[in-house]
């Protein structure tokens, strides 16, 4: 086996058989391999830059999307025996928060990148104890600082090299090396295992397809480091077979892959997807191939237990300290086996597109925005767990119609974008003037369902709260922009037909009033001004006990939309 641990500095020399870097084809330029000496000169270039910037702190803030430059910079920092701090992103807020911690390098505003090639300098200076400092989104909201020692990383690198050797493979990555999964799988493993790292990150399926084809043509085995967002969107229209011949392993991590996506990826790539379960803090914990079962198998050397609250306990060489540690995930052990099912997290952290988001941090950021009185973010069980937000606004800030709603959403998203990556920003917004709760004062699952019911049913209004009034209820609603009843009414300006409004009134009345309610006809109902897509309005429904009439009044920002009454049957139950 060709594995050498990081502490043996495998980057200084390696066998001549496997190049360290493959530059994939780009446009008309064919792919080519980069000699180790060429990469060494990039290390030398970074060493020269670091020497010129040295301010005595011995700590460097590195954000660099180019894998060749990143790996050269990282090694240059290690060879100095100094600290590499890797921000998770280069958002202004992140950079500002970390500015004090080290000298900024790479693609950080105002930061330098290395210049011309230079010969590297290898000295006897010892490696630092800590290899990298990373940041993850913690359950409390504040980004958690996390260190990985060389000892920890080497333990895990050895485990993986033994389990899934990849010497001689080209390691194509679809994930960022600023996070531990990409750093570990796409950079450190190739360094330590005589495999080849790829000079660019593979963002799109067409690119993956072309690079795999190139590997097949060069008769080079390939490994793909991927994640659910990419694996769930492999187009079936691309010809995958030629390239799939070169494929040895496909890895997915960051979040569980849906079974259907796993099946499809396996069929297209003719290779099973190895899913790796773990986190930045814990390192790898387990793995699975879904076609062999839903359960996860612990990685060699990793011991797991489950307590009465279903929480996972971990004793792992990949952890910073030995001994059992309780984790945030809930699991279920399979009988007579070490395998386990993953049940979800016990703390409010969401995974969106494989990225971890602290809901507490998002709630805090939302709550601090202008005009926001209270806010709660929630992941919806749809499309990559896109985030939704329920936001209580001060009365003058509540949007009354579509244009105001759009302007507000854009403004809120723009403010949040300083702190969060675009994919983490809420996509579904519910603006309320009073916090919607059940009788116990909680925004519970039923209320939640009501707030977002219009996403799944194009016939219902967007519900934004309700209150009791004399003899009835006042419900706040919006006309969903994609409401089915709007279709084909008038060209140009769609409006909500009166019949749809009556249908909504009857559906709400059936839930709100005791006893069965059956529509018997319209009475003196006037539609004073039309409701447009995105219009917010209140619908007041009142019913004097003992009368077979439902009074209806709809009012919005432009005044009254409808008023009058509906005749009901079914009085016998009401007296």
């Amino acid at each position: 086996m060709s594995f050498r641990e990081l502490r043996a500095r495998p980057w200084r020399d390696r066998s001549n058989e496997t190049p360290l870097v493959w530059c994939p084809p780009h446009g008309d330029a064919p792919g080519r391999e980069l000699a180790l000496s060429a990469w060494h000169r990039r290390v030398g270039a970074w060493q020269a830059l670091l020497a010129s910037l040295d301010d005595g702190r011995g700590a460097w803030l590195l954000f660099e999307p180019d894998p060749v430059e990143f790996s050269a910079a990282l090694v240059a920092i290690w060879e100095r025996g100094e600290a590499a701090i890797l921000p998770a992103d280069n958002q202004p807020e992140t950079v500002r928060r970390l500015a004090e911690q080290g000298v900024a390098l790479g693609e950080i505003p105002g930061a330098p990148r290395a210049g011309a090639d230079r010969a590297p300098q290898w000295s006897d200076r010892p490696l630092p104890e800590i290899a990298v400092t990373l940041f993850t989104s913690g359950s409390t909201g504040a980004p958690q600082r996390l260190v990985k020692t060389f000892a920890q990383l080497d333990a895990e690198l050895a485990t993986q090299a033994a389990l899934w050797p990849q010497a001689g493979c080209r390691v194509i990555s679809q994930v960022s090396h600023q996070h531990i999964y990409g750093l570990f799988f796409a950079l450190m493993r190739p360094l330590c295992e005589d495999a080849t790292l790829v000079a660019d990150t593979c963002r799109y399926p067409e690119t993956l397809n072309a690079w795999l084809d190139a590997c097949a043509r060069d008769t080079k085995p390939a490994v793909v480091i991927s994640a659910p967002p990419a694996l769930s969107r492999l187009p079936e229209t691309l010809a995958w077979q030629p390239g799939a011949r070169s494929l040895r392993h496909v890895y997915s991590s960051g979040a569980p892959l849906a079974r259907a996506d796993s099946d499809r990826a396996r069929a297209l790539l003719a290779t099973p997807v190895h899913e790796v379960y773990g986190s930045s803090e814990t390192g790898g914990i387990g793995w699975r191939i879904q076609q062999q079962g839903e359960a996860w198998t612990p990685l060699p050397g990793v011991h797991i237990e489950c307590d009465e609250a279903q929480r996972l306990w971990l004793d792992s060489p990949h952890l910073a300290t030995g001994g059992w540690q309780r984790q945030a995930d809930r699991i279920q052990r399979l009988p007579d086996s070490n395998d386990f099912l993953l049940l979800g997290r016990a703390d409010p952290v969401a995974k969106i597109g494989g990225k971890r988001l602290s809901l507490a941090a998002m709630d805090r950021a939302l709550g601090a925005l202008d005009g926001v009185e209270r806010a709660m973010s929630l992941p919806l069980q749809r499309r990559e767990l896109r985030l939704a937000a329920v936001v209580a606004l001060s009365p003058q800030c509540v949007p009354q119609h579509h244009a105001e709603h759009r302007a507000l959403v854009r403004d809120l998203r723009r403010q949040l974008a300083a702190e969060f990556e675009p994919a983490l920003l809420p996509r579904y917004w519910r603006f309320v003037s009073t916090w919607p709760t059940n009788a116990q004062g909680k925004l519970d699952a039923a209320i939640r369902q009501r707030l977002f019911a219009d996403l799944d049913d194009r016939r219902v209004p967007r519900w934004l709260g309700e209150e009791a009034v004399a003899d009835g209820f006042r419900v706040t609603l919006e006309v969903p922009e994609r409401c089915q009843f709007l279709d084909g009414h008038f060209d140009g300006q769609p409006v909500l037909p009166g019949v749809a409004l009556v249908h909504w009134a009857m559906t709400l009345a059936a839930r709100l009033f005791a006893g069965p309610i059956t529509f018997a006809g319209l009475e003196r109902l006037r539609f004073t001004s039309p409701l447009l897509p995105g219009d917010r309005f209140t619908m007041t429904l009142t019913r004097r006990s003992g009368t077979p009439k439902l009074h209806l009044r709809c009012e919005g920002g432009r005044g009254e939309h409808a008023s009058g009454r509906l005749a009901l049957t079914g009085e016998a139950h009401d007296t």
């Binding site: 084809p25 780009h26 446009g27 593979c202 963002r203 799109y204 399926p205 067409e206 690119t207 397809n209 072309a210 690079w211 967002p229 990419a230 969107r233 187009p235 229209t237 691309l238 597109g353 749809r382 499309r383 990559e384 896109r386 579509h402 709603h405 759009r406 959403v409 854009r410 998203r413 974008a417 990556e421 675009p422 994919a423 920003l425 996509r427 579904y428 917004w429 219009d454 996403l455 969903p480 922009e481 994609r482 897509p533 995105g534």
Partner: protein, 87 residues
């Protein structure tokens, strides 16, 4: 003036990306689709590529970055569909 194809693409974007509060009229054909304009993100870019393949049979170039330049705004997207659609 919005062309019929542009209108069709607006509806495809809204439906496939589930932009619940966006109407076709909100999408300015010249405005960026990503980040500062309509606010789409990296996951949307993948989803949009898939939608184009399903709906129009378009296979994007292997040079992902270049092909995604077609996603700059609605006009460039319409030009891509015009030139490359097979259905």
């Amino acid at each position: 003036m919005t062309t019929p194809l542009e209108h069709e693409l607006k509806e495809m974007i809204i439906e496939s990306l589930e932009l619940e509060d966006v109407t076709p009229e909100d999408i300015d054909p010249e405005e960026p689709l990503f980040v500062e304009g309509l606010g789409l993100d990296s996951i949307d870019a993948l989803e949009l590529g898939l939608a184009l393949q399903k709906r129009y049979g378009i296979t994007l170039e292997s040079d992902g970055e270049a092909s995604r330049e077609h996603f700059a705004n609605l006009k460039s997207l319409a030009a891509l569909v015009e030139a490359r659609r097979v259905k």
